[in-house]
Assembly symmetry: C2
Homo-oligomer: 410 residues x 2
């Protein structure tokens, strides 16, 4: 029996790290309370308008919605996105927008056209796991740029850029995954200055910017250094992730190569789904629906934060983001959150150990990411209560499975 | 103004060849009669059931059709494809099927997990252009295997495999793009024997197998050497290409790596579109609709072939396929079909010069591919009449633009 193991490309060894996949599989077990996922609540989808949207697409576009289309994207969606981007202060024309199969599709094609084996890519520590999964097959080396409570440190970035050639910088500046942190305006300006000064490329990934629960929005870095930024976003968090609808706005040469790369990857993104997305935007549905998504998530986040304050041991600190889907927790040095997660899973509660979000193996073992979009307030409170117990056990090394501290019914 | 030209990865230079893109852009000009495309007729789409399908998806799956889903694919579609594949003699279980974003998505991921720079990939001469576009970024070397009127020559394949290590063989055995040729059963057996003897991997791409206009179907090579074949197909030609719905059945190890690669590329294929496809299959729509597609294309192909017989100069030969979407034409040696196409385009008629379908630059300059799915019989006849004139001019070198040979109204 043939295994074909020896047929694999050299780059394939870089795609291995599937520990996170195993964790997410465990998490889908019945009865599990999962703070591990990174997915929107199904009740956040605009199901009440979907029939209307499909009817509008069939009436308006007919068979064209089912035909092959340009790699660049379905024209009506690209036009609709011009207005969407203008609301964020980003000036674009339809010709400059490239539609992709999720923002993941942009990240893959960016890796493909930019990364030669061994090339340096600068990113936050911690960073978005999906970006690592997109870039890894192209065999980059990573430069981890230091962060604090306000996100990437501009001085650390400038220092890194002056020390080595960097192909591009990858950044999630708003409600970052996994930390929830948002880069303040002053740092955005500093980073915009740095990328212009070093004439380098910044990939600004902005999937969560619309999910703001308090405070005022901060403009994308794209608005500050348009010629040096690839701006990426998605409708996954404000419409429906299953439609795989991402897009980007890139400097001309980069966009042109992205189109050629994408042609080899999937020819183009689903025309029908692009037509649905264009109707969602042009029909004003996004603007009507977004407040409902926010009204769903804001109290969930609050419940999580309240419960953490109540149940988490003193030795832990965490972020309190103004939006997005995640809270980031740091425990005392030396704590092994993978082991903690195992104990939590035994009590039907799961999270993602933070170490998976670092490019450098072994970093962040004492950290964890909590998601609050997939459970209601009472469930979140119960889950945090259990986590609090497991964490306290881990801290005091005095674990006793039978210990009970009432957390239900509070 | 920054160009970022120096930022591109080494592999990116392999993605260039966009002459074909330019040709296809010209072809979309208003008034152009195009035999150049490779796309299904919009009137072949089952528009009469689409409303029913979307309603069924919403009723049956609700928000789950809009949520993130497994990279491997939407379970109900994978189950539906088990029966679809069984009708072709292919034994599969849902666990072994991987859904992709078009068959292009499979080709890209195969290239990614298998091809290290410089690795040899064996393929037909000519071969499917989209496969070259998928593989090229991974920097393979190509071994062109000779073909004749019945497709790939088994002896030439065995010879190539004994001369050098080949990562995999890529083959479209039924109604091939661009030639329309079908590998007969005897050759399928011979190739199945060869890949088992050399313990190598065959990628069998079968997008057109269902579009048979006459004769009896020939089983996929997958049925003859299941452990050595990655079988790829798509619903693009029998449902709707805009949904980007492809799938594959691969040996276990290959499938597992394909899943990891695909996760980095787009996380998964559109859940909603997969749900639509599963309803199309399980509702019996494909079986009812396919005869209509065939009834649409068969007379178009006949009209094209009849007109070629009538209008093409003696020095030309062509295939008369039992199905699919293409006829392949060979002119006399020394003829430059790119120049001919320019002349044809000036008369609002376009085709694809065959040279684009060869891995080795410069091969096949005297060949052309004609598509017959996108125009009705009268239009095809008129277009072939014009092509016949242009070709005759090219052969006799006695071109005179004003020459008229009545072809309309026949």
């Amino acid at each position: 029996m043939t295994s074909f193991e020896n047929r694999l490309a050299r780059r394939t060894r870089n795609m291995g790290a599937s520990a996170i996949r195993e964790i997410l599989k465990v998490v889908s077990r019945p009865g599990m309370i999962s703070l591990a996922g990174g997915i929107p609540a199904p009740e956040s989808f605009p199901m009440e308008v979907v029939r209307e949207l499909t009817a509008a697409v069939l009436d308006k576009f007919g068979p064209a919605a089912f035909q092959y289309d340009l790699t660049e994207g379905f024209r009506p969606l690209r036009e609709a996105l011009v207005d969407y981007l203008a609301d964020k202060g980003i000036a674009a024309t339809a010709e400059h927008i490239l539609i992709a199969s999720g923002s993941q599709g942009v990240l893959d094609c960016l890796g493909k056209i930019l990364i030669s084996p061994g090339d340096q890519v600068a990113l936050e520590a911690p960073t978005y796991l999906g970006a690592l999964q997109a870039f890894n097959p192209y065999e980059p080396a990573y430069v981890q740029i230091g962060t604090d409570d306000q996100g990437m440190l501009p001085d650390a970035l400038a220092d890194a850029l002056s020390r080595q050639p960097v192909k591009f910088i990858y950044l999630v500046p708003t409600f970052q995954n996994p930390t929830g942190r948002t880069l303040p305006m002053k740092r955005r300006r500093a980073i915009a200055d740095i990328i212009q000064r070093f004439d380098t490329l910044l990939v600004e990934d902005d999937p969560y910017g619309d999910l703001r629960y308090r405070g005022t929005s901060v403009p994308p870095i794209k608005t500050l250094a348009p010629d040096h930024v690839v701006y990426i976003s998605t409708l996954s968090k404000v419409f429906a992730p299953g439609l795989r609808m991402g897009f980007c706005l890139a400097p001309d040469l980069i966009r042109q190569w992205l189109v050629l790369a994408k042609q080899g990857v999937d020819l183009h993104t689903s025309t029908f789904n692009q037509a649905l997305a264009s109707e969602y935007l042009t029909g004003g549905h996004l603007k009507r629906h977004l407040p409902r998504i926010i009204a769903l998530y804001r109290p969930r986040q609050q419940a999580l934060l309240d419960a953490m304050k109540r149940f988490f041991p003193d030795a832990f600190t965490w972020t309190a983001p103004d939006g997005g889907m995640f809270v980031w927790v740091e425990g005392p040095d030396g704590m092994d959150m993978e082991a903690v997660n195992q104990k939590a899973v035994n009590r039907n509660t799961a999270f993602v150990p933070g170490t998976f979000f670092f490019a450098r193996p072994g970093d962040g073992r004492h950290t964890m990411r909590l998601n609050y979009t997939m459970a209601d307030e009472a469930t979140l409170t119960r889950a945090v209560g259990i986590l609090g117990e497991v964490l306290e056990c881990a801290v005091t090394k005095m674990c006793s499975r039978g210990r009970t501290r009432s957390i239900d019914g509070d």
